[in-house]
Amino acid sequence: MILKDLLKQPLVSILIEDSYSVRGRPLFLSLIHNYSENGYSVRYFKYDSPLSSEKCEMEQVKFTCQTCILKEDQDNSRMSIESSWCSDLANNGDHLVIAIDSLSPLLMNWTVGALASALRNLQKRRVAVVALVHGDVHDKETLQALNYVFHCHLTVRKTEDRNICSGVLRKGSGKLVDSDEYYSITDRWEIKDVEEVTKPSPNVLVESLPKHAVPKSTFKLDLNAKEEEARSQVVLPYIRKQASSATSETAKGQIIYEAEAPDWDDEDPDDDLEI
């Protein structure tokens, strides 16, 4: 279960994809709050315009952040953002998580390749990155390109008023693991009730299944008990032969080939041609 494992330790990179109808920000905040409670140092970068309620939310999770509006000059903006991500990394050791909320404004200003390059530079320094992206804003190609950068991709959705997190994890060996998990978030930004989504078994009653495949007919097509017993005692001829050959040597498959006598024709096949 991917989400359950993520709660214990952050992976190198986690991408949370949400949409306008199902917001992923609560899961994003809860994850980084969890890491913060477990001793990780969290650096939070906010590029989205905050909603009016987010000020109170940030006070609850005890993070400080400042909304960053990307500057007009693209090169300067990218350099300054990359340097802000990488600043003072040496002092924080291995327990550092960089949270990016969200990648969507960056993707409006940069190409996917430029963003991927910046994120890879960050990952090379062994820093865990947790990022949010609004999946309904960007096209499929852009989102697929991000999958190559992030090791873990979580998609949030809702069904029957329950939150579901669909996770895909790319392990170091290249193996892909996926899971669907229910989850809930408390008022204290804790993720609880994480359980795997199990597909319901089909509601088929065994008693309703027919006992015989013989169709109903006015003719007598089935067998009575005596005839069933006699049929069960019949030994099929190929089984008898297999049983007898099995006693002499170990039963194993073999191909018996008898070469036929060559059918040479003394006549010249081109004899009838008038060349």
Binding site: S52, E72, M108
Partner: protein, 248 residues
């Protein structure tokens, strides 16, 4: 009629201060923008109206039918109008550096910076008083050659201006056409950043005598609700109905 609209949007119980409202218009016209303008005027809020498509006379004319006088508010400095059409005409003639549309002739300067500065200079004069910054048809900027990233940045700057002054509200309307990918991308991104999203659509089956269209009201903050309504536009307001109750 304005009261029923505000009740449907829950703005009779929820304060609009510090909040952003996005009106996504899939059909022509902006009846709900005028309703929110009327609501702001009746509450005594200062109004900074930015329009790229209409003259001040249009808003005055509609406002008069809805019960408020824009020209009166403009004369008392309780409202300000930043009109795109006149300033655009002047920018063609005079090439003034401080003209908000100077960016059309000078690609090296930051587009929309001058418009934002014009808005900021109006808002700064109203510090401490409740105000509404209303931007009509933001999608017109794309038609003027502005890139989507610049338009998004302009929205973020206006949004941060509102949040700096906690008694301000931001009301933005944006027209959407299904085939325009850029505007759909921008409107979807702005929907993630707005507290209240009103999505106006025409009827799927065509025109109707009883209804003008459908409205989806979604709150991204408390009460976190999403509701669908039908509405009918009249000369002096809008009537709102629960789906299926228009002819009752």
């Amino acid at each position: 009629m304005a009261d029923t609209v505000m009740k449907a949007l829950m703005l009779d119980k929820i304060q609009i201060d510090g909040k952003s409202v996005l009106i996504v218009q899939h059909s022509d016209g902006s009846p709900f923008l005028h309703s929110l303008l009327t609501h702001s005027a009746r509450q005594g809020r200062r109004i900074c109206l930015v329009s790229f498509n209409q003259l001040v006379g249009y808003y005055h004319s509609v406002g008069t039918r809805l019960g408020w006088n824009l020209n009166n508010l403009l004369s008392k400095n309780q409202a300000a109008f930043i009109g795109g059409l006149h300033t655009l005409k002047d920018s063609f003639q005079f090439h003034c550096p401080s003209n908000p549309f100077n960016f059309l002739f000078n690609s090296t300067t930051c587009p929309l910076q001058a418009i934002f500065l014009a808005i900021e200079s109006v808002i700064v004069g109203w510090i401490g008083q409740p105000f509404s910054l209303v931007i009509d048809e933001l999608d017109c900027l794309l038609n003027l050659g502005i890139e989507p990233k610049a338009m998004i940045q302009f929205f973020q700057k206006c949004h941060s201006l509102i949040q700096t002054h906690s008694n301000g509200s931001l009301i933005v309307s944006i027209g959407v056409t299904p085939l325009d990918k850029e505007i759909i991308q921008c409107s979807t991104l702005l929907s993630h950043w707005s507290d209240l999203i009103l999505t106006e659509r025409g009827l799927q089956t065509g025109k109707s005598r009883d209804l003008t269209g459908t409205l989806t009201v979604k709150w991204n903050v408390s009460p976190f609700s999403e509701q669908d309504f039908h509405f009918k536009c009249f000369d002096r307001g809008i009537k709102m109905f629960a789906p299926g109750t228009a002819v009752l």
